[in-house]
Symmetry: C2
Subunit: 319 residues, 2 copies
Amino acid sequence: MTNIKDLAKLAGVSVTTVSRVLNKHPYVSQEKREAVLDAIRKTNYQININAVHLSRGKTNLIGVVLPYFDHPFFSQILKGISNQAIINNYKLVLFQTDYKVDREIEALHMLKQKQIDALIICSRTSDLSIIEEHLPFGPIVLSEDNQSVNCSTTFVNHYKAFYKALEYLYEKGHRKIGYCIGRKSGANSSMRNLAYKTFHEKYNLPYRPEFVIDKTLYFEDGEKVVDRVNKMKNPPTALLVTSDQVAAGIVITCQKRAISIPEDIAIIGFNNEPIAKMMNITSIEIPLLEIGKSLFLQAIDDAISSKEIDVKLIERGTV
Amino acid sequence: MTNIKDLAKLAGVSVTTVSRVLNKHPYVSQEKREAVLDAIRKTNYQININAVHLSRGKTNLIGVVLPYFDHPFFSQILKGISNQAIINNYKLVLFQTDYKVDREIEALHMLKQKQIDALIICSRTSDLSIIEEHLPFGPIVLSEDNQSVNCSTTFVNHYKAFYKALEYLYEKGHRKIGYCIGRKSGANSSMRNLAYKTFHEKYNLPYRPEFVIDKTLYFEDGEKVVDRVNKMKNPPTALLVTSDQVAAGIVITCQKRAISIPEDIAIIGFNNEPIAKMMNITSIEIPLLEIGKSLFLQAIDDAISSKEIDVKLIERGTV
DNA sequence: TTGTATGCGTTATCAT
DNA sequence: ATGATAACGCATACAA
């Protein structure tokens, strides 16, 4: 493997000059520049990027932490991030955590080790104190509403979004409302649960723990949800479903079992994925690509900022 | 930032000894080891991984090239790759190409620059000659049946899979069969088209170009497909749909428009995604996680190997 | 078991 | 405009 030293010798210049040519710096005579370029051609020279990284202390790599990427919610955010990464000439290093803290810490570790310039955490599992601890090593961007830690965030106000959906159902006459969610823990889940509880207090409705159905992520989980609801003596008349995938699964299952929507049970999905439109599912639209874009831009921005993303209720046929 | 030199001074040993401790080499006295570990604790020392990379000429990073990762086909393969990467302590660098050659070449470039140790190309766009050119710089693994280039491959025999599905439809009495595919170009698409043509020749059926519907990738494309078929004077009685997403979209659209499946049109999907099971769609099962796993293992294996993955027809209600 | 010295390939500083 | 040289932080061959 030839290096700039070899090139320098071949071109009859110093390594500095070679480096200048390589990095398109000014102050190189046309003559010498040509000589260097010639040497590069002749030797099939290839820069060793790791040496550049060491010297610069920067890798142009950005880490992305997410639980799984085979779910539309995250794959869309990732797509938004990726689109911007391409534009800005960054590459992405993926950390699929399955919500395991260790994996997230591994990612933070890579930030500490300078293998990545910044870290985007799409869904956090580790403690905020650990995030804070790693802040000195590079920008960390979170996708949650968070005032307590001094880092950039792009987030949906899930409290507001949930509340909006609940109020909508209330207006439509629903008094027994349940919801389906991926996991019960996590910052966003907590906000939704808070909205749910506050809503019930406001209207003096009883809070029923069995109306909260977790571990619902994928299309096929819709069947599980219908099973559970069917077994209830006093089932909900409406369901907030935090993923259109699951909502669609519920709709399909109900069709199979001759359960009418919205008469027997009303459904509001989330994300407004294409499947929601096709299946005429009322949904809370969340601009995931935009979230991804914002997260990335914050990751490469030295300034710290917070961005709240607005959501929109798309009325369709399942309420 | 403290480095091993500082540690050495602090612990009263040489940098070599520090390095030995860091890398858990033998031949270090308990005493000196403790001294080094102490120094590490005191200084909050953090290794600079880029220096390791430069020194070792290796990054423990593996590149993954795919057109998009918001499609179940690729996100599942990626998941399979990722699972293995975690086990083997590798990180993944993602290249979303949108089937743009430049992006793929960028990935090959990073291999050349030694920023990644190996490259997995899940769906190739660039010329095979370009792949071959980059082979000297590190392992490249392809997901296609390919004898001409000397690299590892894990692939589905799409010719066989397609033929199997076509024969099945033929047995069921179908003589006018169309198919939906993501793109017409590409190695895998070519194999399928070849199977399609061969099948038609064998049974002396006319080849109708309009029966090949491309740019069908996502759920919502199902509607487009139904639109196109509806407009045909002499429409197919069966459709091979190379993604269950699209197949599901077709089924939903047909339900809306009172088109009976399989009476009016039969459907065979691909991948046997969960949605296929839920919607009772006949599908060709492709073990995507297994493919991902194999691709990864080949990427970190110096030996070159080829692995053909078998598929299975899952009979359900759409034929 | 330990340490010295050198290499890894590049960039940055400074002097000329 | 150009070049010498010192970082960058670590691994390792070799000597002891």
